[in-house]
Symmetry: C2
Subunit: 487 residues, 2 copies
């Protein structure tokens, strides 16, 4: 039927998060992605010999089908709710410092180099490419304080086709002379200009459904309370109040010295979270990074505002910040996603955040009392190690909720965007293979057995995988990266 474009159809194993405790492992799944990049329909339990009938039922004849091999599966793309694009150049160094010394000796000197637009162009191009190929389909970026270089980051993200929030740091206090904004007014004016600039980018985006948000969006980014004067935070609060869909991101309660110093700068605030809340900056589309040492009042405030927490376990370990009690927050119903926090964290991949979120949950369970051998002790998220379902959810659907994108990405449902990874754990690919998977599985195994295999593939990908196992990366249905992508 000329003029009626056929959808792209994937057939094979699919992993789909359902909740913090459950995911669907679907060994024989059909997903149809329309021209807009949204998922048209999903049909599960289609055996190979039923494939053509299933397509015919949907009115599809002669459509090309991308059939996955054993050891390959599709899952939602990773969502990195907290990272610093300009810090990738010093990733993996500075682990001897704690936060405030690390900013002084490692981070601020590196970030200041991005005043050079050519340096920004070269570096950000490499950074965004690397993040996409690592499977990050949605990313919350901190850039530097510089307006024009931050526009460059937004341009690159737009061009390479990643979904992202891009923010310019607001920082007019307690920063070095060579890397500080001159005043609140300038900081706010630059922020307004960046918001306008980024929102104009979407007008040149590939077509998408009218109900969907643009791929690249601005995000308000007061660096952290220490680096912002009261009048700057007040102006940013006004800006946010006038623009309810504008996301907000900042750091909170990462390090004990940082918390003490924050309290000294804002003596009237009841606590760290209260500083931001006073200025209207904690709301349901605020992303709060770290949140390691929150007291109960702060937890309750964040929960009541429905703000989200970006859990950055690699960074929390690496900068000696502490272990965030994420299970406790989940028990309280607080939204949580994962963040790599490069370069407090030393790896751009959410796979590394998954591994260290698992480790952090195990460290919490060590101190929270071990389970009784008979299993009688009530299990909560706070006192047990995170399951694969929990880790998957945090890395995908949980992150989507933290970004306010839960209706659009994070899992596969008709109408949502197809932001997805095609993962392979076959022997011949990269550094992780399931022994024997160079050949396909026997044909006569049951669906349940296939589902168990798929569980194993997912778990092995999480703990042994890296970018070599990510064959293709899709954002809004477009093939934008992965091991087999040719730019």
């Amino acid at each position: 039927m000329p003029g009626t474009p056929l959808p792209t159809i994937f057939y094979g194993a699919v992993v789909n998060p359902i909740s913090l405790s459950e995911y669907a492992a679907l060994p024989h799944c059909l997903i149809a992605v329309g021209e807009t990049g949204n998922i048209d329909w999903i049909v599960d339990n289609v055996e190979a010999h039923e494939l053509q009938d299933a397509l015919a039922l949907k009115g599809i004849v002669d459509a090309p089908v991308i059939a996955l091999k054993d050891g390959e599966f599709i899952m939602p793309g990773f969502i990195d709710t907290h990272t610093h694009a300009p810090q990738v150049p010093n990733m993996g160094t500075g682990g001897q410092y704690e936060l405030l010394d690390w900013l002084k000796h490692v981070t601020f000197p590196t970030e200041s180099k991005f005043a050079d637009k050519e340096f920004a162009q070269t570096t950000y191009s490499s950074v965004v490419r690397r993040l996409i190929d690592a499977g990050t389909t949605t990313c919350c970026y901190y850039a530097t304080l510089h307006l024009e270089p931050t526009k460059i980051l937004a341009d690159i993200v737009h061009e390479l086709g990643q979904r992202a929030f891009v923010g310019k740091c607001n920082m007019n206090r307690d920063s070095p002379d060579y890397y500080i904004e001159p005043c609140a007014d300038k900081s706010v004016a630059d922020t307004r200009e960046l918001i306008t600039y980024i929102r104009a980018l979407s007008k040149t985006s590939p077509s998408s459904e009218p109900c969907q948000e643009p791929l690249v969006q601005p995000i308000l980014t007061p660096r952290f309370a220490i680096s912002c004067t009261d009048d700057l935070l007040s102006s940013l609060g006004d800006l946010a109040a006038a623009d309810p869909s504008l996301r907000i991101q900042t750091h909170i309660s990462e390090n004990l010295s940082e918390i003490e110093y924050t309290k000294s700068l804002f003596p009237k605030a009841p606590h760290y979270a209260g500083v931001y809340d006073t200025f209207g900056l904690i709301r349901d589309n605020t992303v709060l990074a770290h949140a390691i040492h929150l007291n109960e009042d702060e937890q309750e405030l964040i929960r009541s505002r429905n703000a989200g927490i970006s859990h950055c376990p690699t960074s929390n370990f690496h900068l000696n910040s502490g272990v965030a009690p994420i299970g406790l927050y989940l028990d309280k119903g607080i939204k949580v996603g994962l963040g790599t926090d490069v370069s407090g964290g030393f790896n751009v991949s959410i796979l590394n955040a998954i591994q260290n979120a698992s480790i952090a949950s195990k460290v919490c369970s060590f101190s929270g009392g071990r389970r009784a051998p008979d299993g009688s002790k009530q299990e909560t998220f706070a006192n047990k190690p995170f399951s694969i379902a929990t880790l998957l959810y945090l890395a995908t659907a949980g992150g989507a909720a933290v970004c306010g994108l839960e209706k659009q990405v994070g899992s596969f449902t008709p109408g949502k965007s197809f932001d997805a990874l095609l993962v392979s754990v076959r022997d011949e690919v990269g550094n992780v293979g399931i022994w024997g998977l160079t050949d396909n599985l026997p044909h006569d195994i049951t669906v349940k057995e296939r589902s168990n295999f798929l569980d194993g593939w997912l778990e092995r990908f999480f703990f042994c995988g890296d970018d070599r196992n990510i064959e293709k990366v899709f954002v809004q249905g477009r093939f934008v990266g992965g091991r087999t992508f040719q730019a």
Copy 2:
């Protein structure tokens, strides 16, 4: 001069461990490796224009020199003091279990498959290749309980040129019916036969200095106390007593349930370490894996026997075992090396063990009290995060001492074996590049500045690197693996 073979000469940046607190970063170093694979001589601080003069002083004319680029450096090969070759096929799965359930549901079923010699041949070939390419130049292997398949592992290690200790598990109790030795006598007889077999292999080894030990050696491997009857441990103790150079490896104090059960099986022993000590199995060439929950008496016993501990942080986290107080052991002068403990651990690379040893040390420092901001609190290994020097030492020289190979490998000194990695962190290689290093460093920077760069390369390799950054792997001077190796 025909008949007088020229040494292989490396020129460039070299990293050399000195102690737990110090390493040498040598930006302009010459290392000459003789035909035996031992290091002939090392000269430091040779600028490029002095190179020919430096060689002439050593009587070397027209020798080919392997000159490293900026971003490349040579360091001692990694020493994995604890891993299970037959568990690699289930690596990255089973993290929901603790030790005893994990053995039952994951490990024993997999290990039992190695009764099939063809499966053993195929799998072990892949495993050893992968470990060498990951930079492991010396490895302490547990095989399965099977004699002939364990000979196959030793053959493969011998053929591929890795330095290793290979042991057959002794396990005649508390193991499943399908995977248990029938009696102590059979277990000991097979062990004796394996020792004889492996010692015969070295007669076909490449020539090496008479004072040096063969590349592949046997190691006594009582799996753990639970799996061995008193009479088996007694016979193994007799065997060890008659053979002082024979290394011994076993597990100790990994998991609280395991410890309780061990105490119930050996009610007369004062503690877990006492079980092994009763039978003469804790001595200066014993490798004790995990050692998480040792009491003070056990620590003192191990120290007094000069036995070594294999620290397996990834496994300790992954199987919910706990955090080993390694800094405390180092303060007491106990020998410690690193182990991947695949598949309790989920990664064959010592780089991953380094990252998680760093994290474990930080977790210990969280609970051991934070440093005062003025630094007045005395720093010990127990209450501070491990430095890069400490991590490097544990991964190389510390591991050598645990294996009783401290005179032969683990650092670069004339007379020692050249077991080394040629590492690259250049932009164009693998997943980690130092920004700007595609071009070389300016010529006019000082030696001190070059040394600082080298510190950064090492740190970044440890935290961001993987097998793609390991260009060449040398064991006893032979090029045996790495990214550029063609088998």
